[in-house]
């Protein structure tokens, strides 16, 4: 709108006859701020880890590292949880769900403990590695040694059939295929066991019943419902630790499964054991 605008100083540079470069000076404080950031940057590289060297970067005068920060954070949370952990450790197993704070902590921390120590065998979803592979599914309502909180705590604490803990749960199924039973007897008893859960296999069920009563009922009970005192599986239900097909049952009878679980009392403390037990208990199968 104005044909005589305020004259702006030019740098004196001219291109293409009439193209001039204006000089609109920057504020001086901006220059000082720029210098200040340079000085700050130098100070920063002295105070904090910065310059890469051959082995590792310079450490910085403040001794800061992200690892230390993580360690501090972890310690801080451990301190925050110390009280509830102590409370959890002091509770009777059966009382854990009644203590809201301890139970909530147990489930959250138990989830992490399970993922770290238990998932290798029981699976990250706690459903065993593969059906019929001998790693129990912890989600269902079938328990070898008992599914109430106290039983689970005992199992986790001492383990099963290990040689490190004298209090480990122990029982042993003979390998009936070695000397005890004839092949025909095995075929018959497998047919009988299959019939308990409504399956029909080759073999004489009536003869198998006799074989079962003579050889198996002391552990698996006369009706085949199993015995948790001895960790003897219930043979009448739909769940098979080592598989429920004719071949799989026959294999179990011949070999005699010997599943082991470590005792965790040397690696986990009381609170951790109770936490992981509480976590497992609330996955759907707890009694």
């Amino acid at each position: 709108m104005s044909d005589k605008k305020q004259e702006v100083e030019t740098t004196g540079h001219v291109w293409d006859e009439d193209l001039k470069e204006f000089n609109n000076p920057l504020p001086r404080w901006w220059l000082w701020t720029f210098y200040a950031t340079i000085i700050w940057g130098i100070g920063y590289t002295i105070a904090y880890p910065a310059w890469p060297l051959v082995e590792r970067a310079t450490g910085g005068l403040l001794g800061y590292s992200t690892r230390l920060e993580v360690a501090e954070e972890i310690n801080r949370f451990e301190d925050m949880n110390a009280e509830v952990r102590a409370e959890l450790a002091s509770l009777d197993a059966a009382d854990i769900p009644n203590n809201e704070a301890a139970y909530s902590y147990a489930i959250q921390s138990g989830r992490a403990t399970f993922a770290t120590y238990c998932s290798q065998c029981h699976g990250s979803g706690a459903n065993g590695i593969e059906e019929g592979n001998g790693y129990p599914n912890l989600l269902d309502d079938d328990w070898l040694w008992g599914g109430d909180l106290a039983s689970i705590v005992t199992t986790v604490t001492h383990g099963i059939r290990n040689e490190d803990d004298p209090d480990a749960r122990y029982s042993e199924m003979p390998a009936f295929g070695d000397d005890y039973l004839e092949d025909a007897e095995i075929t018959d008893v497998v047919a009988y066991v299959g019939s308990l859960s409504g399956q029909s296999f080759d073999g004489d069920v009536a003869a198998g019943e006799t074989v079962f009563a003579d050889n198996c009922s002391s552990c698996h009970m006369e009706d085949g419902s199993g015995d948790r005192e001895q960790g003897a599986p219930n043979l009448t239900d739909a769940i098979w630790l080592y598989g429920g097909s004719q071949e799989q049952i026959e294999s179990s009878v011949r070999v005699g499964p010997y599943g082991v679980m470590p005792n965790w009392n040397t690696r986990l403390d009381d609170a951790e054991i109770k936490a992981v037990a509480a976590y497992v208990h609330q996955l759907g199968g707890g009694e």
Partner: protein, 478 residues
């Protein structure tokens, strides 16, 4: 490139700041700015103290950003984190609103409502009270640092510090219960974060409003650059009627007086300018369109008996039009143009959309996450069970029971982990997540099939409101 002349050795690429001493001015726009300042500052300082009863379990502060519990309370509205789109929508509206106002009325936001302008105005006001008007301040600036200068400067800085403290203080009241925090602040029991935030905002208020002022607008703020993209020759801005004012001149009684324009070159428009420019030089990026030069010039025009409006709100088109002898066009003619209408439409559409969304948002909200590891579990009786993590949001001020089902006449059994009933009790204003088991009978069609569509219902035990989520039930797939 050819260098026809070498730069002069005295040429500087950096310039020291020219201090600005805005003179006091009276007029319509100044009065409007006082009112806007009172309103905006009043809203800012008082809002955290408005109480709003929400019942025993919820805060009674009308406007509260509860970061710790991740809630935003605004009178009767409560926003949860998953409803953040309301905030995003408001921010988009704020942006579009700025576009709208800028394309219609230029940098009206900068001139009237920007916090930088409002607080700078407040700081200049206190400066004038303590040190006097423009001439006195210029003299003081040039004066030696004697006892009087120290006294005036220190008292000014003290008042500024108090304003800064009040500004930083008011800010933190938005984030926690204001009366409690005030007591804590005074008794030194407040959280260090509160003091740190206050300290930082006190400093920035003091520095931006007292020291940096127009430097923020000219060099630090990105808005002036962005706003220029929304302006055109129809945008109404503050401008000088050059055809009327020029040639300017003081000597109204001299022999050349007849040739002079209306501008008497009294510098009133320059002296009142808060960014230190001369509006008679034309449009400049520094101009925040605060309109104080209009007031100043009108005052002078009244005194010398000339018509008002030598400096005025007008569009660039008007200037050419008037120079050619036409009349100034009405404001509406400038405003009613496609880009302004488009901005208005977009702004209003988002506003209507958000309002509708606010009123139709469901009272009861649930989430259902099917457990995929494993997809199903076979139980000892041969039945098949699926697990779902069901989250229920209780947006009410009291604890409530919610009932879970998969609908009437369903072949499935439903159970909630840890209870014998199919109920989830959710404490006030929280979300509760529970494991819900859905079981199909041994040998049933659903247990053998690969997958079955199911609908999980949640019923509010108090109001009877219902919500559902469609998901699938995984069978053995045989």
């Amino acid at each position: 490139m050819s260098t026809s002349e070498t730069p002069e050795p005295t040429q500087q690429l950096y310039a020291a700041r020219e201090p600005v001493f805005p003179r006091r001015v009276r007029g319509n726009f100044r009065a409007l700015k006082w009112w806007i300042m009172a309103l905006t500052l009043g809203v800012y300082y008082l809002t955290p103290w408005i109480r709003w009863d929400r019942g025993p379990n919820l805060p009674d502060q009308a406007v509260l950003v509860d970061l710790a519990n991740r809630r935003f309370f605004f009178f009767w509205i409560e926003i949860w984190p998953h409803e953040f789109y309301f905030i995003a929508g408001l921010l988009i509206m704020a942006g579009l609103g700025l576009f709208l106002f800028t394309s219609a009325l230029g940098r009206v936001w900068c001139g009237y409502a920007c916090p930088q302008t409002v607080w700078t105005d407040l700081f200049v006001l206190t400066e004038r009270w303590i040190e006097g008007d423009r001439n006195a301040r210029v003299r003081l600036w040039k004066a030696k640092w004697d006892a009087r200068k120290w006294r005036l400067r220190l008292s000014k800085w003290f008042v500024w510090l108090m304003i800064g403290l009040a500004t930083g203080g008011a800010w933190i009241f938005y984030f926690t219960d204001a009366p409690t925090l005030l007591v804590d602040l005074v008794t030194l029991n407040a959280h260090p974060v509160a003091y740190t935030t206050m300290g930082i905002l006190t400093f920035t208020t003091f520095f931006f409003g007292g020291i940096a002022r127009e430097q923020i607008c000219i060099y630090a703020c990105p808005w002036p650059r962005i706003q220029a993209a929304m302006m055109d020759e129809d945008t109404v801005v503050v401008a000088y009627r050059e055809w009327r004012g020029e040639p300017r001149g003081k000597h109204r009684k001299g022999p050349e007086a007849d040739k002079l324009g209306d501008c008497i070159d009294c510098m009133a428009c320059v002296n009142v300018c808060p960014v230190g420019i001369d509006i008679r030089d034309g449009q400049q990026l520094e101009c925040i369109t605060c309109a104080l030069c209009i007031d100043a010039c009108n005052e002078i025009m009244d005194k010398v008996g000339k018509p008002r409006g030598l400096i005025d709100y007008m569009a660039l088109k008007d200037e050419e039009h008037e120079r050619a002898g036409g009349h100034k066009r009405s404001l509406m003619k400038h405003i009613m143009r496609p880009r302004v209408l488009l901005y208005t439409f977009l702004w209003a559409a988002i506003g209507v959309g958000l309002t509708v969304a606010l009123f139709v948002r469901p009272d009861l909200q649930i989430t259902v996450r099917p457990e995929r590891n494993p997809t199903f579990v076979t139980l000892s009786d041969g039945s098949v069970r699926n697990t779902y993590e069901v989250g229920v949001r209780n947006k009410h001020g009291e604890s409530r029971p919610f009932y879970v089902s998969v609908g009437v006449d369903s072949p499935f059994e439903v159970a909630v982990e840890g209870t014998d009933e199919r109920v989830v009790v959710v404490p006030a204003d929280t979300e509760n997540k529970v494991r819900v088991y859905v079981t199909s009978a041994p040998g049933s069609e659903e247990s053998l099939r690969d997958r079955t569509d199911i609908r999980i219902w949640v019923v509010d035990g108090v109001t009877g409101d219902r919500a559902f989520h469609d998901t699938v039930f995984n069978g053995r797939g045989q």
